[in-house]
Amino acid sequence: MNEQEKFDKLFRKYPHPVATFSQKPHLSRRHFLNIAGTGVTASWLAGNLSAAAPVITSTPVQMQNKAKNVIFILLAGAPSHTDTFDYKDIQGTTPTSFSPDTANGVMFPTGLMPKLAGMMNQFAIVRSMQAWALVHSLAQTWTQIGRNPAGVLGNVSPNIGSVVAIEKNADRTPSQVFPTFLALNSAGAAGPGYFPASYAPFKVNPTNTGLKNTTNPDGQTRFNARWDFLHHLDDPLRVNSPYGTPLEDYDEFYTAANGMMYNPVVTKAFAYSTADSTAYGNTSFGNACVLARQVLAANQGTRYIEITLGGWDMHVNIYAQNQLPTLAKQLDNGLSQLITDLKTAGMLDETLIVMAGEFGRTVGKLTGAAGRDHYPQQFAFFAGAGVTGGKVIGSTDALGANIVDYGWSRGRAVKPEDIESTIYSAMGINWTTVRYDDPLGRGFYYVPNSDQDIYGPINELWQ
């Protein structure tokens, strides 16, 4: 039978309008009591709220609501801001090969990132951002969950992508087989916290052969025969299971996995061609950008894609050819082509691209090891989803050490929590939402302290 018939058969079997990657939220939380570890409230045991739909509150806000999808690029290791997107030419230090040029009053190292230099009117830069902490893994997690990981709810707080996934779950249609939240080259991506597993980042590293384990080594014919026999033999334990509902729930994962196997839509989206890989710079990062474009184009339910490009932690010999110039070139090749291709495909206007490291690096002269060390001043990069091209928000002093102009309405340094708010606003998600289904029962705030309006979206990006 062809793919469509397979899906039809599948979803005749499960007529309820539950998308492939989701569980029935909150009702399944009760079922998942039996297979959930600590961290998921056994609500009826704690005598808290019933296991029905959780209480969710928010205050009305004006959202940008321009983006259908998000691509979040984490520059792990923390790139030097003054050598890249908050460029400062330091006499006697900065290599002349960086060839800074000024376009529309914005200085940019055209020698280091020539392609991005040629498209400055297509992206915006925030130069007034500062990190809270200078420890890599702490700050990386902070950036991905939009709050202090060492705080009380830190351990159970979901990745921003998981929040987007849970919010956009209702948009999924039964024929869509991709995860809502995809993580490429991001083995260490922050998880879904207390949210159910279906909102976890689906972690994949790009290959030219497609998604791992979506074919059986003994071939499709053997696999299909095995699949049929498995259900013939095991359905008594999977349907109305005498051992309990967790086995029925597990069967749903088998069904969803089967939907991704031998599926040309999956193969097409999750494998990159040689031509594309070359166009994007022939690197793992470039390949991830190819997959990101393909997955979004497939329109199979993915709405948030996280890509990690690491290696920026250049304490030693930062300007050596194999250090900053090489990594910046990887970024330049991959990101520029991604923006270009999304634009050609007519998808850029509905895709918000966000890029940041976990903090910045020391400024001015290099250290004794010819490198740059950790520093709180940093940048953030935005493109797509109607963001005003060429916009620069905020500015720093001549060295890039301190902010001289915040550049936005809140008149203070931009924080990861503001970046988080911006993402939600762009996606039409109310960032003041509080969900009272968290394991501690104190309420999970999408953006910390939103009831006090501490953080908020950078609306200037669209002005």
Binding site: F21, R30, L33, N34, I35, A36, G37, T38, G39, W44, L45, A46, A133, L134, V135, S137, L138, T141, N148, P149, A150, G151, V152, G154, N155, A190, G191, P196, A197, S198, K212, N213, T214, N216, P217, D218, R222, A225, R226, L230, L233, D234, L237, P242, Y243, G244, P246, L247, Y250, D251, F253, Y254, A256, A257, M260, M261, A369, P439, L440, R442
Partner: protein
Amino acid sequence: MKRIKWLGALLACATATGQSPVSDSQCSYFGAERERFVPKPKGAESDSARLTRQFYAQSTRAGSPIRNRPYQGTQASSNLIDQYIVADLQKNNITPAGITTDYEFVRRVTLDLTGRIPTTAVVTQFVASSDPNKRATYIDSLMATSQWVDKWTMFFGDLYKNTQSNVQVTIRPEGRNAFYKYIHDSIAADKPYNQMATEIIAAKGTNSFDQTNGQVNYYPLGIVGGGPSQDIFDNQTANIADQFLGLAHVNCLLCHNGAGHLTTLSLWGGQTTRLQAWGLSAFIAKTYTHSIATPKDPNNPNASYNYYSLDAYTTDYALNTTTGNRPPRQPLGTLKTVTPDYLFTGQTPASGQDYRTALAQFVTSDFQFARAAVNYQWAQFFGVGIVDPPDQFDPLRLDPNNPPPAPWTLQPTNAALLNALAQNFIDSGYDLKKLQRLIVTSDTYQLASEYNGTWDDSYAPYFARKFVRRMWSEELHDSVITAINTLPSYTVSGFTADSTVYGVTSPGFGKISYAMQAPDVVNMPDNGGAVSQLLDTFLRGNRDDQPRKEEGSILQTLGLMNDNFIESRIQATGSGATASYVTNALALSDQQLINKFYMDVLSRNPSATEMSLVAAQLETGGAANRKNNAVDILWTLFNKVDFVFNY
């Protein structure tokens, strides 16, 4: 009332004869009651009749002989767990599931106690044994194995979050290995749990790499950066409160008073102040946990490695911070420093006494320490704690003789049981094996997951059936290799070989075959390779911000169906000495092959229905197809839900 009499009658007979099932020829009490157990041909079926009919009907259930006996726990049971559980079941008129069959029991308890399925030889011998005490005897034999040590080393490694690198700090493989060795050797030596807790809380040492003193690593693992040292004391205190007292709310209280924050969550928490929580943190305030650089490695001069030392600060917990991870700490009136005060009892260190030694004494002698410990164990064996989540205790809602004011209710689902278990644990000398023995020899633990009748979720707090649980990543790995009996050999980076860099020699632990022997959950056992990636999909967490979870995922099922780890083991390859598992099995008759596959993988025989289905499959397409069919059948068994689940 009839039900109680019936249960009592059944128990009286069972204990009198020591055998099951009960027959009226062995029990004179039954004589008078006999006619009640004959199913009535018409009219409404009585409860007892229904139960009896179902009891005997189970003899035809897939693959297993008749369930040994219906649940017989009563308040007269010798197992204190059963006494309390049955009392509640009766009070609430809930019928529990039946007792596990021998096949179900041997598989479950072997997985639970030692982290892998039993071998066919073990299952066969156990089922065949006519020893009336065979379950207890088998339990004792499991507890004497190195596998038992490995499983519980992994469990406590999870609890104490022993890992070489977390979001805040890197203790390095050397530190992680030293702590692993401490946990492993303590478990192996049957160290009383209060002694283990004392050695950890009161740890002394200046070299975290020292394998004779690995518990020193507990404090470095609690470091937080980006703030004053009070942030570190607070985090270390929060870890102690969570892991040894089941009180995660202490972490909340170290930022702010409970009032207005914990008021609806915890009766105790809502009335407790930040100052009182500081009184706990003050026990840590004179501990200076800090890193020391190892000697420079001349071959790698740019690399910098640190080990940790526990030295001493001289001042008490100061209220003088304005920055960091927690809200400012400022003087309260004239109070500028906080001295140690164990808020649950008001105990303070004796004059000149080392603070953490005092803390260890106060914590381990606290009844809550015993409660938390037994509850963490209970949660592991039963899938849910008597207080759940197990680190959310509310100290003011635990005493059934002193229940909290309305609308608060007692927090534990069986408060009397929890306290009795805790007291029992204390009386046993905080003996982990004795606690586990009490748990797994109970009828309550031995209930089947299959429930006769209509299950209602409201029965769950009464533990009226076994809640299935999915295997841990490590259990899956170890069960697959046990079933096929092909043991891999892993060279685990940072664990296998001696480490002699940095001027410190840390002995290695040699290669491992079983995932449960790994000292950590990250990149184990093949250094982040294909096996590690497969095991990660089963959500073993990272011992930091991602706890171990039992949830399912698509990546898990894709892996079970297609990953090389299982696929490579089910192929029919080789001959003679190199013959694979399936190749060897092909020499057997259909019946023998199928029985072998079922026993090796699922620890049971196929039912009559299963045998006929599988035999037909084996013969499909004739002799030429038999080899492929055998491989496909083996694949199917590994993908049955009663493989990956512990039921």
